[in-house]
Symmetry: none
Subunit: 194 residues, 4 copies
DNA sequence: TATGAATGAGTGTTCATTCAT
DNA sequence: TATGAATGAACACTCATTCAT
């Protein structure tokens, strides 16, 4: 199976580096191939076309992203603490992979509407995790019972995303992970009961 | 002065329509020229290049956006109510101009990093308005004294932006303006003292 | 109108030369543009795509081909003599334009089935001229009344075409026009009454 | 010897099918390999390159074509009847193998000039058979003594070829074999003495 | 000012062929 | 013999920008 071949991930890792260093619009397939150490044609043994590289990149990276976060929060009972762990992990994972941060926050957003639609499909998995935390919080009484789940999710994701983007645009000059606590406090106040 | 010629705004309005209807990547200069009723070359008498059209578009639209919001909130004394008015106006103004909503929330984001950097310059004016409200709230005691102004601003802008984007991506099917109140409540809880 | 611009014919003439000298498969658009003395992009102001150049080439050349032949035969009353003039003109016109002979007899035949289908549409005009001569000959009693028009047309066109192709493949070493008389005799014997 | 291995003909038969069904330009080596039930690389154990497959295909098919026709006409003494048998067999053999008819009349003609030159080498064997019949006819007094052998051959082959091509392009809708008699009559009138 | 014809740089993808196994 | 993963050369077309009128 193509997806399990080492070349598959090799090409995706190369794409992350090339896009981060050259920008989305200058990330030619030939550059990615050279970075991956394979011939141009080899790319097409593993990916349908260029767009497929980018979607797969997002799927793989976001997939493991969600997986890691879910593993971290599954043992936690409090919704508030789950939310804290989610924010913390989100910040930590992107802090640990500067290239990936640039690619997801800045570069991949310049892709065409069609590509972003497919990326959003992947993102929905993440949003569902957020919504589940909110629902659990409401049920447990931690969060207000009249909380609009979609709006709360938009606040949580919007705040996290805006915080990371600002950090990336400031060239990652300050400690993003350190913001997990105050950001969590902001968010939890919006959601908390009483 | 170029900027005062009627053609200047004529071209910008044409750009909004062409981008909204065709998408960023299919918004050729020639299409904008035709929509504006001028020759291709004429565009370059008023704008340095294509990027300049887009930056100018954002400057003009965001400028009047900020102006309108500032006018609305200048008579209000409470920071919380100012924030409410800001959210409300933000939602109302974009609800009233569907083309502009598509262009600012979806299409312009596909522009290159360089262009987005310049767009962010324009955005800073808006962010300053938000930060000023936060500062006023802290000073008046409405908001917690230990509130991190930048984080609060990121929460407010991130939440508003994510809410509008979700609405646009859902093809503007529901009433955005009606969300002003619950969104405001979410934000104000995050910021409020006690 | 594009078709009347001097550039239109200029590009077609360039295409004939480039295809004749380089062969169909090595006739890149950029080579045609250079030969025509215009930029690559200019080609696309006058032709929809590369195929359109070739179809237009055939239309223009075959169109004037048919026109010239029709003009020559319109004053002639005898079907046999009309046929003679057709063969003679056909041979003379291709003898006079070696490049065109190569292009129509050898190079254009390597085009895709789709392109050849469109080329055949143009050819039909020529075949109709042949069939009309046959019909006139039958009506006047010059040709046998039981002559199958389609078969006779296939013999006439097949013989002419094969004769020209053989001549082109022999690098145009002998006098093609001199074959008009004996070829005509062969054909006319096949068709004649008695 | 490669040519005697069953795989040799297996690959040629696969090529006929793949070209007939997909067209010359979509007949990739990998498709032919799959159709033949061998690996891509195996092709190159039996053929020098792709062109060699096509030339061999033509050699094999045309070789047996000529063989069959020669066997049919060798017992016949009259040149006219030999010609009749040649036309009849030609039409019958192609009527019986629709795939081959498409490949030889339409698809193989899209090959490069170089390939067609090599194909013509093979064709010469067929043309020699035709010329021999003509020469026999002249010697026996059946055909005119002033008949130009090459022209007569061009008429005969051109007419047959054009008739078959028209039939193939009309999707083989009518009975080709039934045309043998009238076609023969057309040709024989052109050649006959008196 | 205004025009619009002309420019030319830039790139994703296919597929015949090779070669290590 | 047989395999099939890997190779890499080759090219049509778009569109932002210019400049002679």
């Amino acid at each position: 199976m193509k997806r399990n071949s080492p070349k598959f991930m090799q090409i995706i890792e190369a794409a992350v580096i090339v896009i981060a260093e050259n920008g989305y619009h200058h990330a030619q397939v030939s550059k990615i191939a050279k970075q991956a150490g394979v011939a141009d044609g080899t790319i097409y043994l593993y990916f349908k076309n260029k767009e497929d590289i980018l979607v797969s990149l997002f799927q793989e990276k976001m997939g493991s992203f969600i997986e890691k976060i879910q593993k971290e929060i599954e043992g936690i009972s409090s919704a508030s603490e789950k939310l804290y762990m989610l924010v913390k992990k989100h910040f930590e994972l992107l802090s640990a992979d500067h290239h990936l941060a640039i690619v997801t926050q800045l570069e991949l957003r310049q892709s065409s509407k069609e590509l972003r639609t497919r990326i959003n499909e992947v993102l929905k998995g993440y949003l569902r995790v957020v919504e589940q935390i909110i629902n659990e919080g409401i049920e447990s009484g931690e969060f207000r019972s009249d909380l609009d789940v979609r709006l709360a999710r938009q606040m949580i994701f919007g705040t996290i995303d805006e915080t990371v983007t600002t950090w990336v645009m400031n060239e990652q000059k300050y400690d993003l992970a350190a913001l997990a606590k105050p950001v969590h406090e902001l968010l939890i106040r919006g959601c908390s009961a009483s």
